[in-house]
Symmetry: none
């Protein structure tokens, strides 16, 4: 069973619009047990469309297209499909009545051009469109079933669920259920993660495990196929357990949860509070944790101490310590953490001071040098990060904030040495 | 001249991730006069990748791929390209040195797997990657030039601009220049903007002007085509002037500049400083302005006062004022602004307090109710925003931060009534 998509529209190939129908169709088809192998995005060119329909229907069992069903001159899907199949066009009376009725309901005269929307390739049948003017098309072409859906996302989704999904099930094209589970890690590199799990990521393994990295967060993506949901879940379970066993301390969360969600979960599970002192991250940590619902009882607040004066007046960092050691130093990071903890009355004080660049680097303190400070009832410590110097400011700020949050998470859970 | 894209990754064909590289590449290539005709999205399958490279290089003059250049087993682009060309793989010594140097700078040992990133098809050359580990590839295949770029969007964009764009110009592949200029406004609605500029946005106008809205920022996008850059720029100039004449006070910046960049520009032009007191925005304003280069001299810092106690201890808001008026009130917003201005020693104090939701709303103070406070040498004032209640937390936080920053920008420029 191979499926592929044709996403049609010159507004997509020109870059003016971002296609989201492709992703939605891939997800929904995968859930129906129909994996998508290719997606082709093409402009409103008749020859390109004919070629694309021919190529797709010659190598796949199911072809789903999006777009090109409207009434205007650049809507070419009907034509292209007929020409790819070597058949003529016929008027579908039911489709015409539906289109006429739609205009009548809206008290608007039907422009002549809309009649073309009732023309379909000989031998095809229409897919009803409960929301818009353009009916879809369902047709056998070469070795494939072809389904043409409209490009408007709302209409495409409605037609898929009401018309296409039942046909896929009835025709036996829909197969087994495919489910996914994503486990997110922070604190080790992508290749390091893979080296420690070659058995899990081996090609052909069941269930399949992929590794991806996004802004230094590593994701293990488990995908499993089953006759039904229970069977797929049963396959996923042991692999997820193996990942937790091997990488437990690195796991920050699942799905879309990243380090901030992991830190907030640790705050909730321990009932502790955290206060922040941010210099080079400039409020990013505060922003990231206050995006998470329910953090309020665990977050009295923070200080963004960009100027050295603020480190002294609001965080009690001695001015002579800043003068002697520099604002970017282990000593100042620790003093900031202690100041935040004391002044904001929290269990934990977390501080970040560093050189985010692009200016301000020196040979001794290059761009990307960051010190973290952490203060709790048991004492104060610091950590040094080298995140540059080639990285842009936004990356250094983001990485520094993630390392800081992950360190606090591990401290809360008692996982620091 | 025909170009096409190969977007590679099973996380895309499965629907788990939405590709945005394709749209970015279509836009940038169009600007260089290289229209994209096909985009094919394929999973991490070697045979599919070989087929796709063969098909693309047999029908197009330029093929640009994204993804599959990482160090893991499912990164197949190097292999697929070599097999499509019927050549072997060779180690590129310069690429290996670059990868080794990168790990050395980060004080981390290089895993063996990363060596594979220095292997490239015989006869190809590398495209330097200024930001990540994976070099790109530039190779002649069949009738096409092929450029393989990494999948990480930041790396892809940097490599495109630094390595690929110059090659397209030098090789004569780039054609007529299409240039765009985007002018960003804040403080009026999309339909209001369009109603006040029907002559500018008329279809068929040269140069073409489009309006888009993103997170309440309205963008006028001017696009013009010319034989060279100077011709395109000459077309754009008068239209940009007309937009500035009509919407001057609303303009926050151009290109990717949004309200934060507009505020920082106003701070720089006036030489003033700003201090922040953030409650419901939780550090988002501090984060947004500290992303902008060169803000340091103008931003001593801010306080994220999530807990009421912090409003009192760090911002001198009287506890009985909070008790009598509530933390979300005009009086507390003004007191926070005054406290931030005084305690952090800034020219301007800007405060935000509100109900970001999803919980915490009441009939009198519903989700989305936000008060801004602004204190400067001339006195203190407040503003009330109603941003909910149907909006999610992230939208309310973002809109509140933008309204606050834009208000401070107008105050600095003397544009407030």
């Amino acid at each position: 069973m191979r499926a592929e998509l044709l996403i049609i529209g010159s507004e997509l190939t020109s870059g003016e619009k971002l296609d989201t129908n492709g992703q939605w169709l891939c997800t929904r088809l995968a859930e129906l047990g129909v994996p998508v192998r290719f997606t082709t995005v093409i402009g409103d060119d008749l020859d390109d469309n004919i070629d694309a329909f021919k190529a797709a229907s010659g190598r796949s069992d199911l072809v789903v297209s999006s777009g090109g069903l409207g009434p205007t001159q650049d809507d070419l899907t009907r034509d292209a499909l007929a020409k790819a199949g070597g058949v003529g066009m016929v008027q579908d009376d039911e489709a015409l009545r539906m289109i006429e009725a739609l205009f009548a309901r809206r008290d608007r005269p039907m422009p002549d051009r809309n009649r073309t929307q009732a023309l379909i390739p000989e031998g095809s049948e229409i897919l009803h469109n409960p929301t818009g003017t353009a009916p879809g098309i369902w047709m056998r072409l070469d070795r494939a079933w072809v389904a043409c859906l409209p490009g408007v996302p709302r209409e495409l989704k409605a037609m898929f669920d009401a018309e296409l999904a039942p046909r896929l099930r009835a025709s036996g094209l829909a197969g087994r259920v495919v489910l996914g589970r994503t486990i997110n890690l922070f604190g080790l590199g992508e290749s390091e993660a893979e080296q420690r799990a070659p058995d899990l990521t081996a090609r052909g393994r069941i269930p399949e495990v992929g590794i991806t990295a996004s802004d230094a967060t590593i994701s293990f993506r488990i995908r499993a196929e089953g006759a039904d949901e229970a069977e797929a879940l049963a396959l996923i379970g042991p692999t997820a357990e193996a990942i937790y066993e091997r990488f437990g301390d690195f796991v920050v969360g699942e799905g879309t949860d990243d380090v901030a969600e992991g830190l907030v979960a640790a705050l909730k599970s321990t009932g502790k509070t955290i206060a922040l002192a941010e210099s080079c991250t400039g409020g990013l940590i505060a922003h990231r944790i206050t995006r998470v619902d329910g953090v309020s009882p665990h977050f009295p607040g923070g200080v963004v101490s960009y100027a050295n004066g603020v480190k002294s007046t609001l965080l009690d960092v001695p001015a002579d310590l800043i003068a002697s050691k520099g604002a970017v130093s282990p000593e100042v990071a620790e003093a900031m953490a202690e100041g935040a903890r004391r002044r904001l009355g929290a269990d934990l004080g977390l501080a970040v001071t560093g050189v985010a660049g692009p200016a301000g680097g020196t040979p001794e303190k290059p761009v990307g040098l960051v010190y973290l400070g952490l203060a709790d009832a048991s004492g104060t410590r610091h950590r040094r990060l080298a995140l540059g110097p080639e990285q842009p400011r936004a990356v250094i700020q983001s990485r520094a904030s993630k390392h800081a949050m992950n360190w606090a998470r591990l401290a809360l859970l008692g996982k620091l040495p």
